[in-house]
């Protein structure tokens, strides 16, 4: 779905005469592949290049060096621009900046309308996409009366209605309360699981990453780490060096292990920690009584 080869991006600052004042390389020699249907998370501190990379995926920014193929199309190919934007939709951080309609279903219809989709088909798409994020019953509501999580799900539905193969979400939960965060992540997981939409999730919340197929960690414009969530979150110290963190339960498991409880590395969920602790405690009780498990 996404194929990046030696991708770089420079922000260039010019003075009034058009002379280059400074060059800042935000993305530096990134090569990576994302398969269709993958759920990929990108982590990285503020300024690590995540958002710049994301904006290249739907050709909002074009590579300074290297090439980027989206669904087999080179983003530098001007004639394919609209096709690329249709196959890769974006959702941003602030829900209030993305909603334009005065009624929820109108807002969702905006994308397909713009693409020249026939009316009957638009109605079908609006219904399907609002249902897929659990917002169908709000179709006649005014967006400004919705909660942050609901608005963000409407924004996602608006992208889904354009039937992209890939959705890029750039910190979609940063402004939401715990419930809103849960709603958005559930909606995204559902799209990935049932409609096989490729998901690129950029986030600062480590708990949201644990169900990803693959995690990329960016630092200074480069890919600093990559692997499954378990492989990544096992490296607590390295993540801290990169200004990141691990989910609280992973950290608790890590500290328990350091204190001598023989837990495995990279525990990701509360249930997992519960299961291992119960198993180890039982074993210890058996041993103390001189019995074999």
């Amino acid at each position: 779905m996404i194929k990046a080869r030696n991708l770089s991006y420079d922000y260039i600052r010019q003075d009034e005469e058009g002379n280059t004042e400074s060059v800042y390389r935000a993305v530096n020699d990134v090569s990576l592949d994302v398969e269709t249907g993958d759920f990929v998370a990108i982590l990285g501190h503020n300024g690590s290049g995540k958002s710049t990379f994301a904006k290249q995926i739907n050709a909002l920014l074009l590579p300074t060096e290297g090439t980027l193929f989206i669904d087999g199309k080179n983003t530098k190919d001007v004639e394919k621009l609209w096709e690329i934007r249709q196959s890769a939709g974006m959702v941003f951080q602030n829900p209030d900046n993305q909603i334009i309609g005065t009624v929820v279903d109108e807002d969702v219809a905006f994308g397909p309308e713009n693409m020249g989709v026939p009316r009957e088909e638009i109605l079908r798409r609006v219904e399907k996409s609002l249902k897929s994020v659990g917002m169908w019953e709000y179709r006649s509501h005014s967006p400004n009366r919705l909660s942050g999580g609901q608005k963000q799900r409407v924004a996602i539905a608006g992208v889904v209605a354009m039937q992209p193969k890939c959705i890029i979400l750039d910190e979609p939960t940063a402004m939401l309360d715990p419930n809103g965060r849960r709603e958005v992540i559930e909606a995204v997981l559902e799209l990935n699981a049932s409609k096989h939409v490729t998901i690129i999730l950029i986030t600062h919340y480590m708990e949201e990453v644990i169900r990803a197929d693959k995690v990329f960690v960016m630092d200074q414009g480069k890919i600093a780490m990559q692997g499954t969530p378990r492989e990544i979150f096992t490296q607590v110290e390295k993540l801290r060096e990169l200004r990141l963190d691990v989910p609280q339960v992973t950290l608790l498991a890590h500290e328990l292990k350091e204190a001598g409880i023989p837990l495995p590395n990279g525990i990701l969920t509360v249930e997992e920690l519960r299961w291992h602790l119960n198993r180890l405690r039982k074993r210890r009780m058996f041993q103390a009584r001189g019995e074999v498990e």
């Binding site: 990285g44 501190h45 503020n46 300024g47 951080q93 909660s147 942050g148 999580g149 910190e171 940063a174 402004m175 939401l176 309360d177 715990p178 419930n179 809103g180 965060r181 849960r182 600062h204 480590m206 708990e207 801290r240 200004r243 990141l244 963190d245 989910p247 609280q248 339960v249 950290l251 608790l252 500290e255 328990l256 204190a259 001598g260 409880i261 509360v270 249930e271 920690l273 519960r274 602790l277 119960n278 180890l280 405690r281 210890r284 009780m285 041993q287 103390a288 009584r289 001189g290």
Partner: protein, 286 residues
């Protein structure tokens, strides 16, 4: 300083079709030097409430007392209250507007009538407190990183030397290290300078780690007002109103169900670690 709210009600757009009561009979006291966290889902009234603390919004009914003085009484100096209760809004970096970092931080003190030199002195001190390096002082605020900008914005409030600092989601959008840095800064200001803190946050983990008291709001009312341990005991009720508890609280609750004698009031890693290790040790004794 102490702040006391008595039966505070606030109604938006009174007399129109959009009339909505955002605060209902709020009774709340924030003692001098306290660190209080305020949590609740989006739209529960948190931000409306904090704007009452420095008189930005005026209660529709009820009273607010600052050190025993009613702030709505004739002759009360609201202007002075606004500089003594510093309010850091969400995404405060969007409010930076001056040409240089130092000028931006000097704006508040100058507005209070200090001369250039005095204002600079206050600004330098505030910037030092938030840990912004000297090399940035003459730069334009927009050239800084997100975390740095936010520090500058907080410095702008600190330069007014508030006795109480109210922060509305100060860590939204920051990376984990940036979050820790801002929160330890707030915690340091609280400990070293005795500033009272009101922290509005959506991160249950952060709230449990830093505050000694948590106020939970729902539909314009105060639902709980207690220690973190006591508040997060109600994790099921909190989930019903769009909140949650720190992950460690869930671990402790589940282990308890499985027959562990763990401390279900543990809300931080340190507390959970101690309790689990003790129970694991006990299991090793015949």
């Amino acid at each position: 300083m102490s702040l006391k709210l008595e039966k505070v009600n606030y109604v938006y757009s009174t007399g129109t079709a959009y009339e909505r009561q955002a605060l209902k009979d709020i009774d709340l006291e924030i003692a001098d030097g306290e660190f209080v966290a305020l949590i609740g889902h989006t739209g529960c009234g948190k931000s409306t409430l904090v704007q009452h603390l420095n008189g930005l919004l005026k209660a529709t009914s009820g009273a607010i007392y600052e050190n025993g003085k009613n702030i709505y009484e004739d002759g009360y100096d609201l202007r002075s209250l606004r500089s003594r209760v510093g309010l850091v809004f969400q995404y405060p970096e969007y409010q930076l507007f001056e040409e240089t970092v130092i000028k931006d931080v000097m704006f508040g003190p100058k507005n209070r009538g200090l001369n250039e030199e005095q204002a600079r002195e206050k600004a330098l001190l505030a910037l030092k407190q938030v840990g912004v390096d000297e090399k940035y002082f003459e730069q334009a605020p927009f050239e800084l990183s997100g975390g740095q900008k936010r520090r500058v914005a907080i410095a702008g409030i600190l330069a007014m030397e508030p006795e109480c600092l109210v922060l509305d989601e100060p860590t939204a959008g920051l990376d984990p290290r940036g979050r820790d840095e801002i929160l330890s800064l707030v915690s340091r200001l609280h400990k070293e300078r005795g500033i009272s803190i009101v922290l509005v946050s959506h991160s249950m983990e952060d709230v449990a780690n830093y505050a000694s008291r948590i106020v939970v709001m729902d539909h314009g009312k105060i639902m709980y007002d207690d220690t973190p341990a006591a508040v997060f005991e109600h994790w099921e009720e909190l989930e019903k109103v769009g909140l949650s508890a720190p992950q460690v609280t869930y671990v402790m609750q589940l282990l308890k169900k499985d027959g562990w004698d763990t401390d279900t009031g543990a809300t931080t890693i340190r507390e959970a670690l101690k309790s689990i290790l003790a129970e694991y040790e006990r299991a090793g004794k015949p």
